[in-house]
């Protein structure tokens, strides 16, 4: 590991700022349809877990005062999630989970996962730094690596 000092850190910021034009294309689609500034917390029972491309989905029944509201939660892709500690059987139908999500701006009960607390208490994000192996949760806000790079 090379030593890094103040200069290196400023250099990083500088290069990030000036290299934005070289950003690659977005992974699958823009995430602008989700309201990432106003996350909501959903606690409910999993009715489906789809380990698929281009995205993984969790279907969740959330009890409310008057009945149950159903939510669809979008995650990254299997590739992105595997590098953040997920597997195809991390979640099972019937599991009780708590998810922090960014809801759709149009008010429909669809959302993008930020982080989730599993039935066994583990917390996972929606992707992490690439190539660093399993077990690295995304920072609060999640989905850093699955969002568009520009």
């Amino acid at each position: 590991m090379r030593p890094r000092g103040v200069f290196a850190d400023s250099f990083a910021v500088l290069l990030v700022v000036f290299a934005l034009g070289s950003a690659p294309a977005r992974a699958h689609h823009s995430f602008a349809m989700f309201d990432t500034a106003n996350p909501v917390t959903l606690t409910g029972v999993v009715t489906g877990f789809e380990w698929t491309n281009p995205h993984v989905y969790i279907e969740l029944d959330v009890p409310e005062a008057q009945g149950v509201k159903h939510w669809s939660i979008e995650l990254g892709s299997p590739s992105i999630l595997m590098r953040a500690g997920w597997t195809f059987n991390t979640i099972k139908k019937g599991d009780k989970v708590t998810a922090v999500v960014s809801p759709l701006r149009n008010g429909e009960p669809g959302s993008l996962l930020s982080r989730i607390t599993l039935a066994d208490g583990r917390m996972l994000g929606n992707g992490g730094p690439a190539g660093v192996g399993p077990g690295v949760a995304a920072p609060a806000g999640g989905a850093a690596e699955t969002r568009p790079a520009r």
């Binding site: 090379r2 290196a8 400023s10 250099f11 990083a12 500088l14 290069l15 990030v16 000036f18 290299a19 934005l20 034009g21 070289s22 950003a23 690659p24 294309a25 977005r26 992974a27 699958h28 689609h29 823009s30 995430f31 602008a32 349809m33 309201d35 009715t47 489906g48 789809e50 698929t52 491309n53 281009p54 995205h55 989905y57 279907e59 159903h70 669809s72 979008e74 892709s77 299997p78 590739s79 992105i80 595997m82 590098r83 759709l104 701006r105 149009n106 429909e108 009960p109 669809g110 992707g127 730094p129 690439a130 190539g131 690596e145 699955t146 969002r147 568009p148 790079a149 520009r150």
Partner: protein
């Protein structure tokens, strides 16, 4: 302030160039076989090994206004939370050159006699680079997503020439392109496990001058590429042209 910032950029770039040169290999061909991950979405995380800033897209005057207008409209729609559709929303692959860095999806290089095959994890795209062959005339290449690629080693650098990209394949950063587009890639290790791919796009039909940008990758030893079949695409484009998410049960 601006002058000071520019001076700092020049100093920074000078330091980077010196460092990169120090990492240059000894002229031998490196073994690229294996998986590589775009560093920071291709921008580079380690500043000392980051690629130089991308050059601008300078279109011929007759194409520039429409390009700028579309960029502005797309940015405004995204700000409204109504992102415009892209081919990827329809599960279409990226094609060249965008496929070479899609978010943090790895890219695999496979070297076999006479050919280097490049497989991307996102959308499982495959390019075949034929080594030490002459390039075909552009008008003899059936237009496609990957075109026709030939490559040759020049010292420690793999130079790949690609022509024949279909005009409907979205261009780099949304730029338009014509049947005359030519993509030249120069791949070179700047550290034992850090690869740079300098991409030059020439298009006398559309561009006023070539576009040059550099992608960076880090080697992923032992990584097993993951399949990517776009089987469960819940995004769709509604009647107003907005991207929507289909809800499940």
């Amino acid at each position: 302030m601006i002058v000071a910032a520019r001076a700092l950029v020049i100093i920074a770039l000078g330091a980077m160039t010196a460092h990169t040169t120090a990492h240059a290999q000894t002229g031998q061909r490196p073994d690229l076989t294996g998986a590589w991950v775009p560093l920071g979405g291709g921008r580079g995380l380690d500043p000392t090994l980051a690629p130089p800033p991308a050059g601008p897209i300078v279109l011929k005057p007759e194409y520039a206004p429409a390009f700028e207008a579309k960029r502005a409209a797309d940015a405004e729609a995204t700000r409204r939370g109504e992102p415009p559709p892209s081919d990827a929303v329809l599960c279409l692959p990226y094609g060249m050159p965008r496929m070479m860095a899609v978010a943090s999806y790895p890219v695999e290089f496979l070297e076999t006699p006479g050919q280097i095959t490049i497989v991307t994890e996102a959308f499982s795209e495959v390019r075949r680079v034929f080594l030490d062959q002459p390039q075909l005339p552009i008008d003899e290449v059936p237009p496609g997503y990957y075109g026709h690629s030939v490559g040759r080693w020049m010292g420690d650098t793999l130079v790949i020439d690609t022509v024949g990209i279909k005009e409907s394949v979205p261009g780099y950063n949304g730029m338009p392109h014509s049947a005359e587009m030519r993509i030249t890639e120069r791949l070179r290790l700047v550290a034992p496990d850090v690869l740079h791919n300098q991409i030059t796009i020439e298009d006398p039909g559309v561009l006023a001058k070539p576009v040059v940008y550099t992608l960076a990758y880090r080697r992923l030893p032992g990584y097993k590429m993951v399949e990517f079949i776009c089987e469960n695409n819940r995004e769709y484009v509604d009647e107003k042209g907005r991207v929507r998410m289909r809800l499940g049960q």
